[in-house]
């Protein structure tokens, strides 16, 4: 019993899956909430039409939030945008998650009209769990770069948060199925899919290829409905059985794609729920896979990054590159002290220097992909080298990782 409990919740496992999940949670929250900021006067300011969710919030809290002057609403908009961005990039992951969640609650209490849905409540439960620990900032994050921990991708943590998120996903599936066939659910006694297919254009059903055909085939709809319920009831178990897990994850992903293609369901279905399926992949398998890719790359000819070995800032920067170099695609060579710029030499003989070396690196290191639009922005080819040269000239004045300052930075 104790061993099972340990395996389920207390065992240390790599947190890289949770770190990847953080990005999807952030994208979901941002894509769901930020569009409502484009019409502040309609949604949140004193001129807005508001719906208040008094079953979710205590009335006193709603009344307190409703007293917000417009300036405070605008303050919260900025607070949300800043904390959301920090959470997305993993800067002070836990704090930014807590503050962003607080902002979500504020806007939900201010007006639930646009953002409040049942799937939003699922998202809030997910956010609550994400607030409990900082594990989601271990990798794919600025926090990992700040720490300069080159082994961050294989860092192990108690598994309980990821397990609770798994249980939340599985249980939501299960209860969604169960409610359909018990109590007031009508998926046995009625034919909900058939009704949905006959909804007028104002309804929640999208126009997809089979819709018209299904609208006149009630028996097919009924069987489809039963299959949906059966899937919702069995998928949670299939996800936890190692032998069926892979098929269940694929089934879960297809499930959400189908939902998004056929029904007007909130953004959360598109961005959060498929990512929740990925939480069922054993993190050790992910790190084993990364390890094997690193081994293969380490044995092949790799591009060489040559840097000023006598400069603490350069060593720190290379440490950051190493943290980002998940696939071990680069080789790092300390050059002579005073080397004017970083060099990037490819095995095929191509050589890049300074800003243009960095511009090549953004294609090699996945965590730098987000920089692609910036380094290729019109004019970046002129401005970039100027900025690079200024940084290079002043590189001895920049702060460095403590461990890199003495020249003993282990690379």
């Amino acid at each position: 019993m104790k061993n099972t409990w340990n395996t389920l919740f207390l065992e240390d496992r790599p947190s890289i899956g949770l770190s990847f999940f953080r990005i999807f949670v952030a994208l979901t929250v941002g894509l769901h909430v930020i569009p409502s900021f484009f019409h502040l006067d309609d949604n949140y300011l004193s001129t807005a039409f508001k719906a208040l969710n008094s079953t979710f919030f205590p009335l006193a809290f709603i009344n307190w939030v409703q007293q917000s002057p417009d300036a405070l609403v605008i303050f919260f908009v900025w607070a949300f945008v800043i904390t959301w961005f920090c959470f997305l990039i993993g800067l002070f992951s836990q704090i930014s998650c807590i503050l962003m969640t607080a902002c979500c609650y504020y806007f939900y209490a201010l007006n639930s009209f646009h953002i409040g849905t049942l799937s939003w409540d699922i998202l809030l439960v997910t956010l609550f769990l994400m607030c409990v620990t900082p594990y989601h900032g271990d990798y794919f994050s600025v926090d990992a770069l700040r720490r300069g921990d080159t082994d961050a991708w294989r860092r192990t943590r108690p598994f309980f948060i990821q397990r609770l998120l798994q249980l939340q996903t599985a249980s939501t599936f299960f209860f969604t199925g169960l409610y359909k066939i018990t109590g007031e659910g009508n998926w046995i006694t009625g034919n909900p899919i058939y009704y949905l297919m006959n909804y007028p254009v104002q309804g929640v059903t999208k126009n997809f290829i089979l819709k018209e055909w299904m609208a006149v085939h009630p028996q097919f709809c009924y069987v489809t409905g039963l299959m949906i319920v059966a899937t919702e009831l069995t998928l949670p178990f299939l996800l936890f059985i190692p032998k069926t897990r892979r098929a269940a994850i694929v089934l879960g992903l297809c499930w959400h794609v189908l939902l998004v293609l056929t029904l007007d369901v909130p953004t959360i279905f598109l961005f959060l729920f498929p990512a929740q399926m990925m939480l069922f992949i054993h993190p050790q398998k992910i790190t084993d896979w990364i390890e094997s890719k690193r081994r293969i790359n380490a044995q092949s000819p790799r591009p060489k990054v040559t840097y000023d070995g006598g400069c603490g800032f350069c060593r720190s920067s290379v440490r950051v590159l190493q943290v980002m170099d998940l696939w071990s695609k680069l080789e790092y060579i300390p050059g002579p002290k005073g080397l004017s710029e970083m060099r990037l030499d490819f095995p095929d003989g191509k050589t890049y220097g300074g800003f243009f070396a960095f511009r090549r690196l953004v294609w090699i290191l996945p965590m730098l992909y987000v920089m692609i639009p910036i380094v290729y922005f019109p004019g970046a080819g002129i401005l970039g080298p100027l900025v690079y040269r200024w940084v290079a000239r002043n590189r001895y004045l920049f702060p460095v990782f403590h461990s890199c300052a003495s020249g003993k930075c282990h690379l």
Partner: protein, 162 residues
């Protein structure tokens, strides 16, 4: 002497950590499953209203699409100018565009029919559509979608005067 001390300290820290995690897990699971089953299973079982936790869970559990009826209703808003009513495109009323779905098709506008919402919705309409003299908010219903797909009723729920 120092190393065994360090290791016993680490072991004790681990024990405390594990106890804390176990406590969090047990509490969370208890609350999660209580809230997931409270409204439709526990309350009928105990035959009384049970306490509901605020701030985190939906009021009736995870009931997505659990009951889809043979009927369908939605709100239509008319602006009236010089006595002539004109249907207002719901996308003009709710201009916020969600990503990947249409809030109008999720029937978000149905909220305006909730008793008491006219106090907030009428000033909102007057601000957004100053051209009109007054507004008529109606409820359109298809009572039997499958059997009589064209049968439709429409009733005025409230009006926003001048």
């Amino acid at each position: 002497m120092f190393l065994p001390l360090m290791s016993s300290q680490k072991k004790m820290n681990n024990q405390i950590r594990n106890k804390l995690i176990s406590l969090v897990v047990v509490l969370w699971l208890a609350v999660f499953y209580y809230e997931s089953t409270c409204y439709y299973y526990l309350q009928p079982l105990f035959n009384r209203e049970l306490p509901k936790m605020k701030f985190l869970f939906p009021p009736a559990g995870w009931i997505m699409f659990y009951n889809v009826g043979d009927d369908f209703g939605y709100a239509e808003v008319y602006g009236v100018k010089n006595g002539t009513p004109e249907l207002i495109d719901p996308h003009q009323i709710l201009q916020t565009r969600a990503i990947g779905y249409d809030n109008i098709n999720r029937n978000a506008l149905l909220t305006v029919l909730t008793p008491g919402e006219d106090r907030s919705f009428c000033p909102f309409l007057r601000r957004k559509f100053p051209y009109f003299d007054k507004f008529v908010i109606t409820y359109v219903e298809y009572p039997h979608l499958a059997e009589q797909p064209f049968e439709k009723t429409q009733a005025v729920v409230y009006t926003c005067g001048e």
